[in-house]
């Protein structure tokens, strides 16, 4: 599957990946502090497991430095 991750085209071997799986797969730093933006919109934290990614999706891992976004 082809995704645009943080502005870079990347190919994943997997066909089906959730946001939570992508965070683990990409070994995203401080996963408890990251906000995930999918095609321009932030994904609710509680939806990370169900939210599936599709071919061509644009994913951004964003950080609001400082305490927060752990809920």
């Amino acid at each position: 599957m082809q995704l645009m991750i943080n502005g870079k085209a990347e190919t994943l071997a997997e066909d089906k990946v959730s946001v939570a799986e992508l965070l683990a797969l990409k070994q995203v730093e401080s996963p408890d502090m990251v906000s995930v933006q999918l095609n321009g919109r932030i994904v609710a934290r509680q939806a990370y497991t169900e939210q599936a990614l599709a071919e061509g999706d644009e994913v951004e891992f964003l950080y609001f430095m400082g305490g927060g976004a752990r809920g």
Binding site: N6, G7, E29, S30, M33, V34, S35, Q37, G40, R41, I42, V43, A44, E60, F61, L62, Y63, F64, M65, G66, G67, G68, A69, R70, G71
Partner: protein
């Protein structure tokens, strides 16, 4: 870790310090180097969790923010240089020229001044109602209202509004409820549970651990749909529940630069560790002194939400439980007697801070409200005969002995 004291002591620092430090060290520097330009660019784009400049974020400050977030249960916390910075940054993030804020005159004098003298000339309209009159409050809210602002216990009037009742009204109208919880802190009052959306704090007070440093904090409780805020609807499309914090961090806070100094963050993290112990002691002392003062023949009136006879007691008990903070006021015969009383004290200090470890006394009429006309002071609930006593953590009998010294000043 469920208990407040356990979380306060252990914090959120993972202990991954290169030298195994148990406590987050003080990163008392300004800039953070990156190994290459791409890393710097990724960090500026928000794609990498790293530090660049202390005005924006700093590890020691962030540790304090995360401790406070863990203790409050909020979605996100921002630490600032003072409580006034917390209030001004919050209002600037929520409102714009032409909009209005609904509040009360029963506020800390500087907050009243910020709203009426600083923001109003920039085009923000300020509507004053009694927070005890929820019908008037609801009538004051319209499409231009960007926030309702009040204090959980107002300083120095010690008025206690029913936050849950007010939160139901603000939620109905899609307006965020902002509460200054300085006099109670998240330890005594869970603002999120009451439906408050944004909590602001002067961390200088109880949290700093004995007036060690000036600081403030903004807590987003994560319970407001920012798509309902005309100012933040655009940010909500992109940032969802983080819209307020994203706008705050990436615009208002960054541009105004009211950041908390790393050393102050360190001192305030130390303060957080003993917060519950100190607050419990201060509240016990305050209740005991309020009872003592209430029975004293020279005292015309005592105001402390913990006294059953106080007008605020029923709401305060329902909202805060068994502790009512460390601040009380009492009235003597007149201003002259107040001055003589204060000047005779030896343990209780004459100073303008509150919720220090030391007990502090102040004559609000001639100090924190001196910039207002007598009529305005009276409208704000401040009288020439009133003294404000912030009760510390000393031994109770030493404080009583000192008050007796004040009453006997003419001997």
């Amino acid at each position: 870790m469920k208990g407040f004291a356990t979380r306060a002591v252990h914090g959120t620092f993972s202990g991954k310090d290169p030298n195994g430090a148990l406590r987050m060290p003080v990163y008392d520097g300004v800039a953070f180097e990156h190994e290459n330009s791409a890393s710097l660019a990724q960090t500026f784009a928000g794609r990498k969790p790293a530090y660049v400049y202390t005005r924006l974020a700093n590890p020691t400050v962030q540790d304090f923010e995360q401790r406070l977030q863990s203790l409050s249960g909020g979605l996100a916390v921002l630490a600032l240089s003072s409580g006034m910075a917390a209030i001004s940054n919050t209002i600037m993030t929520l409102a714009e020229a032409g909009a209005n804020i609904v509040t009360t005159r029963k506020l800390f004098g500087n907050t009243l001044s910020l709203l009426s003298k600083t923001f109003q000339p920039w085009g923000l309209s300020v509507r004053y109602v009694s927070m005890l009159d929820t019908c008037a409050l609801e009538q004051a809210i319209d499409n231009g209202t960007r926030a309702v602002f009040l204090e959980s216990i107002s300083n120095p009037q010690l008025e206690v509004a029913d936050c849950a009742k007010i939160a139901a009204i603000t939620a109905k109208h899609g307006v965020p409820l902002v509460v200054d919880n300085t006099l109670l802190t998240p330890y005594l009052f869970d603002s999120k549970k009451a439906g408050v959306n944004i909590e602001v704090l002067s961390t200088t007070k109880y949290i700093s651990g004995g007036a060690t440093s000036v600081g403030g904090a903004i807590i987003d409780n994560g319970n407001f749909d920012w798509r309902r805020s005309p100012k933040l609807a655009g940010a909500a499309e992109r940032f969802g529940s983080m819209a307020f914090m994203a706008s705050l961090r990436q615009e208002v806070f960054r541009n105004f630069g009211a950041c908390l100094a790393p050393h102050n963050a360190y001192l305030q993290s130390l303060g957080l560790e003993t917060l519950s112990l100190r607050v419990d002691r201060s509240c016990d002392n305050a209740l005991a002194l309020a009872r003592f003062l209430a029975e004293h023949p020279q005292v015309a009136a005592v105001n402390y939400p913990g006294l059953p006879e106080a007008g605020s007691h029923a709401v305060a008990k329902q909202q805060f439980g068994a502790s009512f903070g460390g601040l009380l006021t009492f009235d003597l015969a007149d201003e002259e007697v107040c001055y003589a009383f204060m000047d005779a004290l030896r343990v209780i200090r004459r100073a303008t801070n509150l919720n220090d470890n030391k007990s502090l006394i102040l004559h609000p009429w001639s100090t924190i409200y001196a910039e207002y006309s007598p009529e305005e002071r009276l409208a704000a609930g401040v009288r020439p005969s009133m003294l404000r006593l912030s009760v510390g953590i000393e031994d109770w009998d030493d404080l009583v002995e000192d008050l007796e010294r004040g009453f006997n000043h003419h001997d």
